[in-house]
């Protein structure tokens, strides 16, 4: 990717990061749509021999030969039996029955995680720079499990099974489905054993935001990644016939609109359909849009599809306006006609001008990349949000990483919009989604793994979370772009990843497989259900009081019951006690605790208030007692708990919900 390394501080001091030869020992397995091996991003110049631990293969097939693999792309497999069982034999005129990426998504995620550095990368001149993965020297193994018709569980499970057997250290899954119970969720089941065998598993949190409770992949042994923005955008400058000026986002690079004002129409006024404002296929009246700029509302169909609808109806250009759901988030797309994306406020202003003027006109220009945009990061509107409906005692998402307007490698088999009619071919594309933020974390986890090869997946996840930042340098909370308000731990989890700090977190919340067994007992799972997940016999002791809140997780979620009090009396406060264990991963030191709570409704007592560690891997436990006043059902409140020795800050978000 371009810009992300600088934004995350990766380029700053090479000495601080693990030596490239150590990073070269780490293997990232990507379950996705395959890869386009011809890209420069898979160049293996400067990489040493393939790690001796590697047992994977380079499966060949249509458009993919054994020479497609090298010391960067060290493994490539494809899994289609589940897909073909559902859809019939793959039509090789439509898609490659091989690890070849016909879509682009898998190439984008793989090169984001571990692409080799490529100078002069850009998309039509936008976002230019040196594109490199988060762990540019790590090795990539692609496991193609997603096809034109979707991604099927039996294929995904076969890929996880094979990837762990092949010897990957990190597994990256930018996909998701519904969230059934863990013992009914084949990805969660596969990820459990992968993590138990030392593999770090990161997954995208989903694009169901900003709705609350919209998360995917919430198993506590999976790292669940939300999306934020970079400090970069691609401004489009809009001028209306009344002289008013606005800014939007655009990646358009073709023949520009004339510099003179052009008639503008709101799609809702150029359609006979009740949902005409969304520019759905076949809903625009060509007589009313020919030669005009058309204002379309987001939603209903894909953003790029709207551009096709307007272009096919004879529109000269498109302004894509956010509805309330997306607020001021502006996603840039490589539309096939002059197009600009605008936030809800700008969209509403343009629509009211159109309604108030007999002959509304407008013009816009595009073509630049702007850096240093503030505030950044902000939470992407689409990024799925907590609370974790499956297990309210586990706070998800875990953290956020860049996922908006990310430039990375692309397939040579599809255009940047992915539309059939898009015949342009590019080496890099700019797209958005938690699919993009997940491989950022996968690559950064690989860096942490390279620096600390003996750390468990849970320790790596802890390092990434407890060093994440939840506020800007001015102390204000990271903004949620969908509301313009400060974000909460249900939006950002522990906060935005900070790789430099993650390499030296001081203390970690480590979690063993046995801890997860105890967690499953706390879920009241039967021994059969536990055996489905863990493939082992484990009997929960009837005499033990297993508590979900005691899973040694780097964050806190505290679901509270609103007591129903008869007679109007005052309900007594609720007291819950959580236990955590910290493992020292630095020199000897003494840490003191501090808590910040955003609301007086909960008193927080930490015991002890100071922890001293004399040697590495020494463990110390503490308890946190929450004394919560009764609050109306649906109330949410947040706090933060930090251990600091003056050099390291080990931060944890706390989320309270009253139901």
């Amino acid at each position: 990717t371009t810009r992300t390394p600088e934004f995350l501080g990766l380029g700053k001091s090479d000495s601080f990061f693990p030596a490239s030869v150590k990073v070269g020992e780490v293997i990232i397995g990507i379950l996705d749509t395959g890869v386009w091996p011809e890209l420069e991003s898979f160049n293996d110049a400067g990489l040493g021999p393939v790690p001796t631990s590697w047992k994977g293969e380079c499966e060949v097939g249509k458009n993919f030969s054994s020479s497609s693999c090298n010391r960067k792309l060290i493994g490539a497999r494809y899994f289609a039996k589940g897909y073909e069982s559902a859809f019939g034999p793959i039509d090789e005129s439509q898609e490659s029955k091989s690890p070849k990426d016909d879509d682009g998504h898998g190439t984008h995620t793989s090169t984001t995680a571990a692409g080799s550095a490529v100078t002069g990368a850009n998309l039509f001149g936008y976002a230019s720079g040196t594109a490199r993965g988060m762990a540019a020297q790590a090795r990539v193994a692609t496991y193609k499990v997603c096809w034109l018709g979707g991604c099927f569980g039996s294929d995904i499970l076969a890929a996880i099974d094979k990837a762990v057997e092949d010897g990957v250290n990190v597994l990256s899954l930018s996909l998701g489905g519904s969230s059934p119970d863990y013992y009914r969720d084949n990805v969660a089941i596969g990820a459990f054993s992968a993590a138990a065998q030392g593999v770090f598993v990161s997954c995208s949190a989903g694009n169901g935001g900003p709705s609350s409770g919209s998360l995917s992949n919430v198993a506590p042994w999976i790292t669940t990644v939300g999306a934020g923005t970079l400090d970069r955008d691609f401004p489009a400058y809009i001028t209306l016939g009344n002289g008013k000026k606005f800014t939007g986002e655009s990646l358009y690079s073709g023949k520009p609109l004339p510099d003179s004002l052009v008639p503008i129409v709101y799609a809702a006024h150029a359609s006979n359909s009740t949902s005409g404002s969304s520019c759905l296929t076949g809903t625009l009246n060509p007589a009313k849009v020919a030669g005009k700029i058309v204002v379309c509302d987001r939603g209903g169909n894909s953003r790029v599809q709207k551009g096709v609808v307007v272009k096919e109806a004879g529109g000269a250009g498109m302004i894509l306006a956010n509805t309330e759901t997306y607020g001021e988030e502006e996603l840039a797309d490589a539309h096939l006609l002059p197009a600009a994306a605008v936030g809800q406020k700008t969209g509403d202003a343009i629509k009211s001008y159109i309604s108030s003027d007999a002959n509304p006109t407008a013009k816009f220009s595009t073509g630049t990349t702007r850096l240093g945009v503030q505030p950044s990061p902000v939470v992407a509107a689409f990024s799925s949000r907590g609370p974790n409906l499956l297990t309210p005692h586990i706070l998800k998402p875990d953290l956020i990483a860049p996922g908006v307007n990310i430039l990375a490698g692309w397939t040579g088999a599809a255009g940047p919009t992915g539309l059939d009619g898009d015949k342009r071919r590019v080496a890099f594309n700019i797209i958005s989604g938690t699919s993009m933020s997940c491989p950022h974390i996968s690559g950064l986890a690989a860096l942490v793994k390279a620096a600390h090869p003996d750390w468990s997946p849970a320790a790596i996840r802890s390092a990434l979370m407890t060093t994440a930042y939840s506020t800007y340098k001015n102390g204000e909370a990271i903004q949620d772009i969908s509301s313009g308000l400060p974000s909460t731990p249900f939006d950002i989890g522990a906060g935005h990843v900070n790789p430099g700090a993650a390499l030296d977190p001081g203390l970690v919340y480590d979690t063993t497989t046995d801890d997860y067994f105890v967690f499953l007992c706390a879920l009241n799972y039967t021994s059969l259900q536990i055996k489905v997940i863990a493939k082992k016999d484990f009997t929960c002791s009837a005499s033990k009081n297993y508590k979900l809140e005691d899973l040694n997780y780097p964050s806190f979620a505290v679901p509270l019951e609103t007591p129903s009090v008869r007679g109007g009396g005052d309900a007594a406060p609720t007291t819950v006690k959580y236990t955590r264990t910290l493992t020292n991963k630095a020199a000897s030191s003494t840490y003191k605790v501090s808590e910040t709570s955003k609301s007086p409704s909960v008193k927080i007592v930490v015991e002890p208030e100071s922890l001293s560690f004399a040697e590495e891997n020494e463990q110390k436990s503490y308890t946190v007692t929450f004394i919560a006043s009764p609050m109306p059902s649906g109330t949410e409140s947040f706090a933060r708990l930090e251990w600091s020795d003056g050099k390291h800050i080990v931060g944890s978000p706390i989320a309270f919900t009253w139901t």
Partner: protein
């Protein structure tokens, strides 16, 4: 419609309790295959899994899946889910 539904095959992932493999079998694959043949003459195994789960995937009717679930050594019969790229 009901008959079609009953005859319609879907992909299932069969989680097997490997620690309870009957003595009669030399290896898991044989056991898996025999289990499959016991509920369906025509079903083929799509994948067998051995690293992160123990079991296999195959296409069964609802009825065959219910029969499979009752067999000795079967931990779970989970219908395959479809996932979307994010």
């Amino acid at each position: 419609e009901k008959t079609n539904q009953k005859l319609k095959k879907k992909t299932y992932i069969i989680h097997m309790d490997r620690t309870n493999m009957p003595q009669a079998f030399d290896d898991h694959f044989q056991w898996y295959d025999s289990s499959l043949k016991s509920v369906s003459d025509s079903a083929q195994m799509l994948y067998s899994y051995s690293t992160v789960i123990h079991g296999f995937s195959t296409r069964l009717t609802v009825e065959e899946a219910e029969l499979m679930e009752k067999r000795e050594g079967i931990l779970a019969v989970i219908p395959e889910a479809k996932y979307e790229l994010h």
